[in-house]
Symmetry: D2
Subunit: 339 residues, 4 copies
């Protein structure tokens, strides 16, 4: 079928390529003229303005936005006047599902459909296919099925769950109509919340392995630092790349994130090229907000998020206050330039 | 080669079966006579006492213990007098690596070798193969290679990590000599620590999805309970089995644990047959203890462990103390039989 | 001076009593006629409707609402038409500061002032005085100083901080104009967030003391439960009421919450009359939301909140999912009715 | 009565001074000759070796060690041969209670008594008195009552708990015989575990207040960083020293730690002289270890400990691994020298 794509960044461009491969007609645009031209060279129809893009699509149109969450509203403002009743707008970025609800309501007033799609797969999606979590009305979602099918990995991407039979459901192919508007980004939000937790679990585990040699080093003895009681128990110098590789086979903790970890550690076991200042793109925060609104505990996901904040120095003042209190009651000096 | 196996529970029996398939000679025993006979019927050599087992193995012997951690020391006490210098004892259970260090030292005095093996794979291991994390001296480990190779899943169990070439390393086949004694169970301990974290991440995420319908329900309005400010944002009734299935394909959070989750949810989306009193077999605790000794943060793994303790009611007194304080300062009544 | 008070619950009635003692004229109302009459009997002017209350106050009026957060907007809707430009509305309840911002803007359009006051002190406030955290415009806050001074504990309530001199600041008397609208409830919100953290710290500590006798009890030995390695280290039967009492003198952890804990434990060391289902009135949640918006880590406060959610059974499904996964990979049965 | 004191650091010297005031005879020693002389000048009997100290005490002797935990065993080794049956050794430092159990058993073989005393009070103890948590046999503890009474703050240090009557118990005076050997340091250990939790709760709360101005600053807009959705809600520039002062009066969260916080913030609201690398002297770790052994959840105390580890850079490798994973799946660059 025919799809307009606005936003040809890492994700948008790769998705267009995957769609082109399966014969879909893609009309594409981006603020960077050169990427439009590049995709034009690969078979897409290039458009150099929103007007141009809309003009080259036949009604009822399907226009997919693949933009940073912060600029989606601006893009919609420009785009909506160009569209006509019956057209469908798809937001495939990392929008907060609250925004989906608001946008869908406003577009509905103009006869436009809105579909929110959470997309997972990262830079590997072009080859592996994308996992698509979809929210919106039944009819426009149904019309987009060929696009979803082309983008999704397909049923063969994972062994069938024992007990399932009959033709594979959409979820078994890697896409799912999760519910009304917002449902797609809600599920994607929780997906990323889980992702943070999984990542942190591996990171903490490997950090423990890495410091298993702490008994080999000499440590200061003073009243303020706990001496290691049993240095003889921490004499291990583990080969982290090999451990990561090992766990990929037969273990309970095998996963795609572990596959990637094995690759990263193999390249540089020290990971010395990374700053360790870890970004968060919103979903981890929103997952916590949802858990809080729902009143359900999510301590693991919350810890993972907090560690990202800490990695960026956002806990420094709290640490200083701890030092200050220790100085107040115990005269412990944790001054700058000291230990 | 030839291996003695003591302990024919869920894990031990399955490992024997996998070894028999690849032509190894297994002499097996267990306190339950019927399981010995069962495995005898499948090709193993049955032994009805430790003496019997030792007698049927040629020196230098390799005897694998697959027993609950709490009874290993008792078994060793009986077994050691029966062995002779050069024999090797393998502990494949969930022992604490501190015990490995102690045992290895004592066995060494008698000329015996000790090899600790952390085994992951669960009830699926017989088919999938077992991930083996091994600690001990180089020589006895080397001698056991045929056994490790037979038990491990083999290189084809996961796609090769890009950038690796040459013949697959042992880790790529699913077994690894991680270091000196204790190293195997240390790595297994951290493996299980990570496992707890991963499991909790999924569990919390699905719990958030499950409660995304909280806005559909009416709630009490009083000064002590926070009203849900935005019920319109929590109107989703997600199909959890389909979401689990969806995430198995193309998403960043695909894993074997997710495969199992999809299977479990498909069987009963309410999971109503489970008590939710979650056991912990020690490694999660020991992982925390190691992190603390090393002085490294492990908040996600710690949270996961704490949730298991809570699931078993071990936090009840703390909760009551919170209720008591609230009553003291605010007159809030959270009495039994009330809300 | 003269103050109208709407809402004569636990907090509102006590505040009126404290104001009456210092000679302020209070016009009071409540939906429950009997409490109006009761306070009338103690010197307040009773009003049996909002109209009645407004009529009995001289412009520019000061009307204090002491209501559950969920009904404040409704009360304002009725009240605002009765007021005239220059009047001031004070919300002393547990409102979310976002609501303050919204309300203040709308009242400003009608020439009304809005002051948000976070009040701490609980049922003890009538005697001890209330800690008042205040947000709003400078002028109406200034006019209310006599009320704040009467409600606050006064400078003598705590020893002066070394290094401070001159006349005590308002903060040293127990009230503070924290900033523009919302600032009062923001500071109160964080105050309560901290409160949750402090309470949980004590609760966890006493729970650890309480279980220090775990080595005296016999435990099951199986592969799924970690045996206690060192029962000889857990042979203590602590007298919790005496420990709480002890820590009140000379220790670093002395606090008012500990005073209350000592009282509660003295009454019933088992706390058996409490359900342990711990409410949360919103501020703990909002504190987390603020930390997340700001991107600052707050793991201790977050843990404390999560434990409250758990205490109310909101983590049960997550626990069941853990049980389900353990069954899937390990065949571990954590079924209902079992162990 | 008569007491020998070994170790005249910050704590030991101040305790001697407090004992001298109440007329106790103190024989004191330290490796630093000058502090012995200084206390000699204040009325203590100076001793310049352990032999000298023992010689100047009449049997049955009471010798108090106030030393870093790591050197106590060494001191005992030298001291024990000098003592005679019936003498009592008191360890008032931060020993792990496991060590108490071991030491008490060994000293008992030689007819010596061992008393473990957890001491709280910090540099303020000389004036305020010390909170004393005591473990050991009944008889030697009874003999030391005059010392405990002199060191403890006394009953007047806190208002009496309502409902208590009769003569004040020892706990009401600030000392308590908590149980057999190890009980004193066990209770002190949990005390410090709680202390970490309380400190972190305040630190996190003040950090949230401090960042309440985040909406005043401009932030980058890209796909990887969550934009602040509601900058208008974060326009507060709070006066932290005044807030700390405010909460000291009438609020639920008043405490001695808050008193100290108010003092620290008043001196320098930015706390810029502190490094924020927060030490931990062992008890926080051991509290976690105890919670884990007991199988009770302690997530708040655990979080507080983890933050200290993080403050010292011990989580850096885990952070880098998160960056590495993000690069692997999303091409997100969090390289050194970048953002």
């Amino acid at each position: 079928m025919e799809l307009g794509m606005i936003g040809l960044g890492r994700m948008g461009a790769a998705m267009v390529r995957r769609l082109l491969r399966t014969g879909h007609r893609c009309v594409v645009t981006d603020v960077r003229r050169e990427v439009v031209e590049e995709l034009h060279g690969e078979g897409a129809v290039g458009a150099f303005s929103l007007e141009d893009l809309v003009r080259q699509l036949k009604a009822p149109r399907a226009v997919w936005l693949m933009l940073p969450a912060a600029v989606v509203d601006g893009a919609l403002e420009q785009l909506v006047p160009l569209l006509e009743a019956g057209d469908t707008l798809i937001d495939g970025g990392n929008s907060y599902y609250h925004d989906d609800l608001r946008r869908a309501a406003r577009l509905r007033e103009r006869g436009l459909h809105y579909v929110d799609v959470g997309v997972s797969g990262g830079v590997w999606g072009m080859e592996r296919g994308y996992c698509l979590m979809i929210g919106g009305e039944r009819e426009p979602v149904r019309r987009l099925e060929p696009v979803f099918t082309a983008l999704a990995p397909g049923a063969q991407a994972a062994p069938r769950t024992p007990g399932r039979d009959g033709p594979p459901t959409p979820a078994e192919q890697g896409w799912l109509h999760c519910g009304p508007n917002g449902a797609g980004h809600f599920v994607k939000m929780v997906h990323n919340g889980i992702e943070y937790g999984l990542m942190a679990a591996y990171a903490e585990g490997f950090n423990i392995l890495r410091h298993a040699d702490v008994g080999m080093h000499r440590h200061a003895t003073d009243a303020e630092t706990a001496p290691l009681r049993n240095p003889e128990d921490y004499q291990y110098a583990f080969d982290l790349p090999e451990v990561a590789e090992l766990w990929r086979r037969g273990s309970v903790i095998g996963s795609w994130l572990l596959d990637l970890t094995a690759h990263a550690l193999r390249g540089n076991p020290e990971l010395s090229e990374f700053s360790g200042h870890v970004s968060d793109s919103g979903e981890g925060r929103w997952t916590q907000a949802a858990a809080i609104d729902e009143g359900v505990p999510a301590p693991v996901l919350g810890s993972a998020l907090n560690q990202r904040f800490r990695s960026r120095g956002q806990g420094d003042f709290a640490d200083k206050l701890l030092s200050a209190m220790r100085f107040e009651f115990g005269g412990h000096l944790e001054k700058k330039g000291g230990g």
